[in-house]
Symmetry: C3
Subunit: 361 residues, 3 copies
């Protein structure tokens, strides 16, 4: 295979745990590679850049988009994805959580799989991470510590890097590619109500991504839904470096006003979970009670029109009737909902090509 | 790839929810394509007609034949099948059955998967369809409504189109291919006892198929096991158009007498399930009690010999000792049991090649 | 594809239930083929010897190494592996264990899958084999009886042939390949404590393999952990034929003294399980109580140094803190732990190429 595109093996052997491990230029490179792969996908051009390669997909949580975009994408690159649920193995576990003959050390699992295949992708948050915020991310870091092949973060309790890459591409495409930055655009990450308990990964990662690409970033949420301090500091650092605005507000409508993009999405109030809860315990019921006060944080067509018709964004699955009304998803013509999902396929193919290919140049 | 066979992309982009959506000629075309693929399979000829393509296999119910014939078949065509069980995703659900943050709208699932892959195959009946007869089929219609890629029915509570196509091929092969019709042959679809609750899909679909191909169709069952009126009307329409016989009788032996093919198989009495039950409720225990009166509806070697040694057919898995005796499955030389299972592979490869390939002609 | 290596199709169509069904020369041939495939793997040479072929992987038990090495390996050979857990099908079952409409006869499952694909691999022991020692192996024999395609034993309650082949390769590589025998080497298979109940498969198979390759074989365990008589007889037969030593002792340290290889690993005391228990019943709790007396059968760095620094071996997953200390696994420089796991990939690719390929020579 001659004439490989520039991005194949560009980051050969590196992990992808969070986008901020990479530079702004690198992030743009991923989206450029993703655009090339998307074009080839539409044109029916073959892209066998990972021929014969195997990616292990370890899902501690449910998944539709992530699993299927990875497993479809790696096959379109000539490889295969193996779906692994933790009940099919001795669950890969941090040293402090080991249960003899029921779990297996992540260090062992990572080293064994490194001998067989070419990448390990992991999703973990919620129950599997004991609802301790940051524990899921530590699991993924532990895989990365021991694996000799690239480890990919398919969403943990802090980050969801492939989601925000796909979102960035969808936003830039909406503005008209080859626009590659969001400078001068107002990008709102807002809380939206759901009865369920969702991780911080998406809002944190999307806020980071918007700030990396130069947007004016607004974060809106009720009291108690603050993102982690270190993430906010990082967003501020990026917006400062671009000379962009950064504001946190407690009102959805105020944030939406005049926005170019709104990303209203549920997450959980962190004060009910360790290490942020007053007693270091998990309080799921109280968290659900508390968030039930904010049922009016729902996105409707009316709100979008009042705000001036911004692009609507959501990682999916959106809780219909809670986070958003049916008509926004089904009929709002500036919804990027399905484009975001679609771009998961392409950004992941880009990163897989970049990190999993072994090429001689 | 030049010189593609005629059937590749022949029905490009169309769904396959039930055979009666297609003409009699079309059904024969599927079997002709299936024969070609079966020959190539035996000869070891490569058939990469779906290279790089992905089929999603959503199974709300258990499966051996269907899953493995699809997943093996699509790979033999150069593609891959991804097995999805509903507990691995937020279960794809009809609008009226949605549970926030536990289910996801079928409309969303279908639209997302359409952006990644090339086909969506679904099996759903029984528990997953709430035992409401027709609900499973509605789920598959909902997928078809929203999907931009072909949707394939892997068995619902009304139809099992790939089973009856495989059965038709097995019957025609038994008579000596290239015979392509069953005109002048007596084909019996009969109830057979099982302790389990099985859907109407197979008997309905097989009766339709036999009538499409011109057979004299006999349906035998105890009172209470009537097939749906609209299906019976359709069978009558086909047999009338061929000038063939069509009879419903309540006696297995009478039906078997002089038959060319017998297809004795369990299904559930519909009067115990909505929308046919008197109170619109599900009565599984009563249904099982009721059907337990018909334990003598078992197929034995003796019955087959008395009937004049017809071909024995069953979709599998057959309940040994209930629907049929061991010796029929293991030693009766006119059993088509394993040939029917085998042809699942080939008819499905035929239909996948016809609907999932995107070709320029 | 010209110039196929000698081993492709070498045992075309044969089952692989246990290594002792093959000759010593055959076993060495597998390792030679495995070495060739391992070299090609490292060099990035394509090995499409099973292009388009499908292997069914039926797992009644959990698995990390076995599943992933098979599913990765068959893909590296151009084929695919389909992972099947018994809850996704009507569980394939021996005649005496059938439950109507919940299970399916192994005879039927094997015959159906034989019509679609190219191999059936099965793992079964413990719960799925009702804790009756030998029942798991009978299940695999039943598959082999009915299947027309090769059946591969992925571990039952008596044998784990691919593990001992991988172990043999790792041991020979440690000594310096192309050394192909263990003659003159002391090889110790020892009990090690675990709280869990593990099958006899690994110690039995490893002892057989070591004796086949000519080693002086020592088996060490507390009273009650005797291997099966027929296995011990077979080991004795092999060691006698080589003029090698064979001893069973009840002391770990005594066995370790001066060893070249030690393989300390948990298994269950057979007297608590049928057909060996006094009352033909299963006594899991008593077995666990009994084995808990032997917590000092743990392998530590100190013991290994006292013994003269033998190579440490274990099939994985090792129960850290029970069978072995962390530092042996993570820091002992003569541990073959990860090499053994790695070689699973290569020996299995070797055997799959040998039995599943259909070639004309």
């Amino acid at each position: 295979m001659n004439d490989l595109p520039w991005y194949v093996g560009y980051f050969s052997g590196r992990h992808w745990l969070k986008n901020v491990d990479y530079s702004i230029d690198d992030v743009v490179r991923v989206i450029e590679a993703s655009r090339d792969l998307k074009n080839k996908f539409y044109l029916g051009v073959e892209t066998p850049y990972l021929k014969g390669r195997t990616l292990y997909l370890i899902f501690y949580n449910k998944s539709l988009r992530t699993r299927n975009s990875f497993q479809t994408g790696v096959f379109q690159l000539g490889g295969q994805g193996i779906y692994i649920s933790p009940d099919q193995v001795y669950a890969p576990t941090l040293p402090e959580d080991m249960v003899p003959y029921q779990t297996e050390a992540i260090s062992d699992v990572a080293r064994v799989l490194s001998r067989y295949g070419d990448g390990i992708a992991v999703r973990i948050y919620g129950d599997a991470a004991k609802w301790i915020i940051g524990r899921g991310h530590r699991v993924i870091e532990e895989f990365a510590k021991w694996s000799k092949v690239p480890v990919l973060n398919m969403e943990d309790d802090l980050y969801h890097p492939f989601q925000s890459l796909a979102d960035a591409q969808a936003a830039l495409e909406a503005l008209g590619w080859p626009k590659k930055l969001l400078k001068g655009r107002k990008f709102v990450v807002s809380y939206a109500y759901s009865g369920g308990l969702k991780p911080l990964a998406v809002p944190q990662d999307v806020a980071l991504m918007a700030s990396m690409l130069g947007a004016d970033v607004y974060i809106a949420h009720p009291p108690g839904f603050e993102l982690l301090d270190e993430v906010l500091a990082k967003v501020k650092e990026f917006t400062d470096s671009w000379g962009s605005e950064f504001k946190v507000v407690n009102n959805m409508d105020e944030a939406f006003e005049g926005a170019d993009f709104v990303y209203p999405k549920a997450w959980s109030p962190k004060g009910f979970f360790p290490p942020f809860s007053r007693d270091s315990k998990v309080h799921k019921e109280e968290a659900m009670d508390y968030q039930s006060k904010f049922r009016d944080w729902i996105t409707t067509i009316e709100k979008l029109y009042e705000a001036g018709r911004p692009y609507y964004m959501h990682c999916g699955p959106a809780d219909r009737g809670q986070e958003v009304s049916d008509e926004v998803l089904d009929r709002y013509d500036k919804s990027l909902y399905f484009n975001e999902a679609e771009n998961r396929l392409h950004v992941q193919k880009a990163v897989m090509s970049m990190v999993m290919a072994r090429v001689v140049r």
